[in-house]
């Protein structure tokens, strides 16, 4: 023993971790945007890459969960943005514009040698999967299965690929060259497409079952719903909505005359209205509920309004009377009022007695929805009102047959179809491997209260660019221009990165006990000395640290 109190060792023998009753755990959580995305895109991750100008990497990150970033960056109704927690702070991130930027950058900087590399892996597993329908659900399913190593063939009734993306969405919203690029990228994996092959007509489903290990049905919804009012079938001037769009997208515009009445409130109705406007006509949109209840994307409604389309809200058609020459339509209408909310909380419209009036038009296009045509299905694949009956794994009632997209009653959106196709691919993979689907525990989704907002400044945001009304209504040039690279970078930098650690070091910096250690990917906590103060949990701006009770 020394003669005075002088240190002989450091304090590391004193394991202060023993004091702890709670412990911080370094664990990424699910950001609400990702949770809202049917395709499960890792949004904060690619936003982070964009903010660092790593566009190509961002794109690669996106296509790990969605092969259609160029499409979705344009036409997705972006449920992610609705959930974006930045929206509660100042303004949600324009995620779709950044997604679009990443895709457009990647497409304009693609290298051809990708093809060979991609094809090499094709068919490694030796098992074959047939996909029926080359729409977004079918193509996505094919994409993931092919990447997993299955041999995939797509049977497509029409002469083109893309399904509703090609047939149902006008050029000014989704340029065909973008769609072509992304489909090309998918098919370059080595996927074969048999066009003009309609199931039940050109090929029998039982034959497919015999020759393939699994089937994914994604035939979409192409049957126009009828108005079910008198006079509906009386004239070629009364056009089913989907027929109109298909015609237009294949270069065969239908003759509409000058005054066009469009019935419906969804994206299809708006697409039609804006398309006919571009043909030099005067479209009127008739919708039986109020503007607030329109299912179409708000931005689309807004643009349509700006373009001068006339909206008749709370108006419902009652009957159609053609003039004697068969050229003019007298569309009988009635005013509606908002009734009591129904089971879903949506207010059912009710007619106001005696409020009948007539709208004169040269043609009428109905766009009140489409239903799947499932007449080709064998009896042992059961269906319901929505479409093919599937379980949570997209399996139908027939062994080895899966279904997805509009045909299987999934929500009618591009991203839902993509998510459905992706889910189908993983289910088929598990089925072919004989693996049961895992119970997925409920993900821990970041809440607004979990964030430490002190680390964020309210600030400016970018509005995506678009053509002026004058510049856009005379042809089918793409209306939305998205972000410039610079805008995209600044916008991506606004991301809170909810639940996703971006190595900001706060946990390390503020640990009073120096127990947080930075690793190449993420952090480690030295529990020998961590006293459980939870400053790291509190000071993580994005809730990538969680506290749990210590088990004694």
């Amino acid at each position: 023993m020394p003669y005075l109190a002088v240190s002989l060792a450091n304090t590391e023998a004193n394991l202060t971790g023993n004091w702890r009753s709670v412990r911080p755990v370094y664990k990424n959580k699910v950001p609400p945007c990702k949770n809202a995305c049917p395709a499960g895109e890792d949004i904060p991750l690619y936003l982070a890459l964009i903010s660092k100008k790593r566009f190509k990497e961002a794109w690669k990150r996106i296509i790990e969960s969605n092969p259609f970033p160029g499409v979705c960056g344009r036409v997705c109704y972006h449920p992610c943005e609705r959930e974006c927690l930045r929206g509660k702070f100042d303004k949600e991130i324009s995620i779709h514009s950044i997604e679009r930027l990443a895709a457009d950058y990647a497409h304009s900087h693609s290298r051809k040698d990708n093809k060979k590399r991609q094809r090499k892996g094709q068919g490694k597993k030796g098992k074959k999967v047939a996909i029926i329908g080359a729409g977004p659900a079918g193509l996505t399913c094919a994409y993931f299965l092919s990447k997993m190593g299955y041999r995939v063939i797509i049977f497509e009734a029409s002469s083109a690929t893309g399904g509703m993306l090609r047939q149902g969405i006008p050029e000014y919203r989704l340029p065909k060259k973008i769609l072509d690029k992304e489909i090309e990228y998918i098919l370059d994996l080595g996927i074969k497409v048999k066009n003009n092959t309609r199931i039940g007509t050109d090929i029998d489903i039982e034959d497919i079952r015999r020759n393939y290990n699994a089937i994914f049905i994604a035939t979409g919804a192409h049957k126009n719903r009828k108005l079910l009012i008198p006079g509906e079938d009386n004239s070629h001037r009364i056009i089913p909505g989907l027929d109109f769009l298909k015609g237009q997208n294949s270069g065969h515009n239908k003759e509409t005359g000058e005054r066009v009445a469009i019935i419906g409130g969804g994206n299809t109705a708006i697409d039609i209205a804006r398309s006919v406007l571009r043909q030099g006509t005067k479209p009127m949109l008739i919708y039986r509920r109020s503007r607030e209840e329109m299912p179409a994307i708000e931005e689309e409604i807004h643009q349509a309004e700006n373009e001068g389309i006339i909206f008749h809200y709370l108006t419902s058609p009652t009957d159609i009377i053609m003039d004697e020459e068969g050229k003019k339509i007298n569309l009988g209408c009635i005013r509606m009022k908002q009734g009591e909310p129904d089971k879903t909380g949506r207010r059912a419209p009710a007619a106001i007695k005696g409020s009948n009036f007539i709208i004169e038009a040269d043609s009428m296009i109905s766009a009140i929805g489409e239903d799947p045509d499932l007449s080709f299905l064998p009896a042992d694949i059961k269906t319901n009102k929505m479409g093919i009956l599937i379980d949570a794994n997209n399996a139908t009632t027939l062994e080895g047959v899966f279904a997805g997209g509009d045909a299987a009653g999934e929500p009618r959106s591009v991203i839902s179809a993509i998510g459905s196709g992706k889910r189908g691919a993983y289910s088929i993979d598990r089925y072919l491997k004989g693996v049961k689907s895992e119970e997925i525990s409920k993900p821990s989704i970041v809440q607004y209260e979990d964030l430490n907002l002190d680390y964020f400044e309210k600030g400016k945001w970018n509005e995506p660019l678009k053509l002026s009304v004058e510049d856009r209504i005379n042809d089918y040039k793409e209306v939305n221009k998205g972000f410039s690279a610079e805008m995209g970078i600044t916008e991506a930098s606004r991301c809170f990165s909810c639940g996703i650690c971006n190595m900001c070091d706060n946990c390390l910096i503020f640990c009073p006990d120096i127990t947080v250690v930075r690793k190449k990917k993420g952090y480690e906590i030295n529990y020998d000395y961590c006293k459980g103060c939870l400053i790291c949990v509190e000071e993580c701006p994005r809730s990538a640290m969680t506290s749990i009770e210590e088990i004694k």
């Binding site: 020394p2 109190a5 002088v6 240190s7 002989l8 060792a9 450091n10 304090t11 590391e12 023998a13 004193n14 394991l15 202060t16 004091w19 702890r20 002190d454 900001c504 070091d505 706060n506 390390l508 910096i509 503020f510 009073p512 006990d513 120096i514 127990t515 947080v516 250690v517 930075r518 030295n526 020998d528 000395y529 006293k531 459980g532 103060c533 939870l534 400053i535 949990v537 509190e538 000071e539």
Partner: protein, 292 residues
């Protein structure tokens, strides 16, 4: 946030005995991160007398002299003189004391050291009361705060002493306030201090969960709110004359800061208003000094 802070393995060893969520531990960590191992630290009686570890252990991997309550400055001056006598002009001598050791019992010795312009860096880690002895009021305790010696209805009736002002009046070469919630500002100030000669004083705001009756995880939040409410603005004074505010506070209402602390739980609305008025007035005075 650009990060210069290492994951340990520096001047501090693990196993030191600060309470969970201790602000004073962080103050030492950030300070030594800048000063490095060419530093001798003189620690006056206070929390750090305990935190540094019991004999025969030391958490500090630099030379340490534990000293009596009021002598951080004077002993440090002696150490510096001893080093100078031996021709050592490189080693930094750091005097380390709490608010009690600085504002109260050690103020005379500090005043002497500053007046003589002894070549030391003095850091006051301010947790606004005698925490190591069990939360007794000091002259750094703010108005209205509960402590064990300002209990019940007799909470502190006088405002916190303004230490930087006192030292500025000595024309000290460098004095600055810092908060553990802004480690890079804090470390920049230590770096500035390191590069200057004469007495340098850094007043670090270090919340204390035990004494403030706050949650340990709120330590940084409180250190941040102290700044952003203007209760503890971040500024520096060169030569006792040139004032510079280093961060424009957001001007968050003081209630946001007060409500997280049990020591202010008893305050009435009018008390909070009184505190707000005083904070606003002090902030105005500080800004006038900057304008001068």
């Amino acid at each position: 946030m650009e990060n210069h802070i290492r994951s340990g393995e520096g001047a501090l060893s693990h196993g030191y005995t600060s309470c969970a969520g201790c602000g004073a531990a962080l103050a030492m960590r950030y300070t030594l991160e800048v000063l490095g191992k060419e530093t001798i630290v003189v620690i006056a009686a206070g929390c750090w007398s305990v935190i540094a570890g019991p004999f025969p252990y030391s958490a500090l991997n630099i030379p340490v002299f534990h000293t009596a309550f009021e002598t951080a400055a004077s002993v440090a001056a002696g150490v510096k003189a001893g080093l100078m006598k031996q021709g050592d002009t490189n080693t930094h001598v750091l005097a380390w004391a709490g608010d009690g050791g600085t504002f109260d019992i050690g103020m005379q010795a500090l005043s002497g050291v500053v007046e003589r312009n002894e070549d030391i860096i003095y850091v006051c880690y301010d947790n606004e009361a005698y925490m190591n002895t069990g939360i007794q009021r000091s002259s750094s305790t703010p108005w209205g705060a509960w402590t064990t010696t300002t209990p019940g209805d007799c909470t502190k009736a006088r405002p916190k002493k303004n230490m930087v002002e006192i030292l500025a009046a000595h024309r000290i070469p460098y004095a600055a306030t810092a908060s553990i919630a802004y480690p890079h500002d804090l470390m920049e100030k230590v770096r500035k201090a390191k590069e200057k000669n004469g007495t340098r004083f850094i007043h670090i705001f270090t919340p204390c969960p035990a004494g403030w009756k706050s949650h340990p995880e709120h330590t940084i939040r409180l250190a941040r709110l102290g700044v952003e409410t203007r209760i503890f603005p971040l500024y520096e004074v060169e030569g006792g004359i040139i004032y510079r505010i280093n961060r424009i506070p957001k001007g968050i209402p003081v209630i946001e800061y007060l409500k997280l602390q049990g020591r202010f739980r008893h305050l009435l609305e009018r008390d909070v208003e009184y505190i707000q008025r005083n904070v606003d007035a002090e902030w105005e005075r500080l800004q006038e000094k900057v304008r001068e």
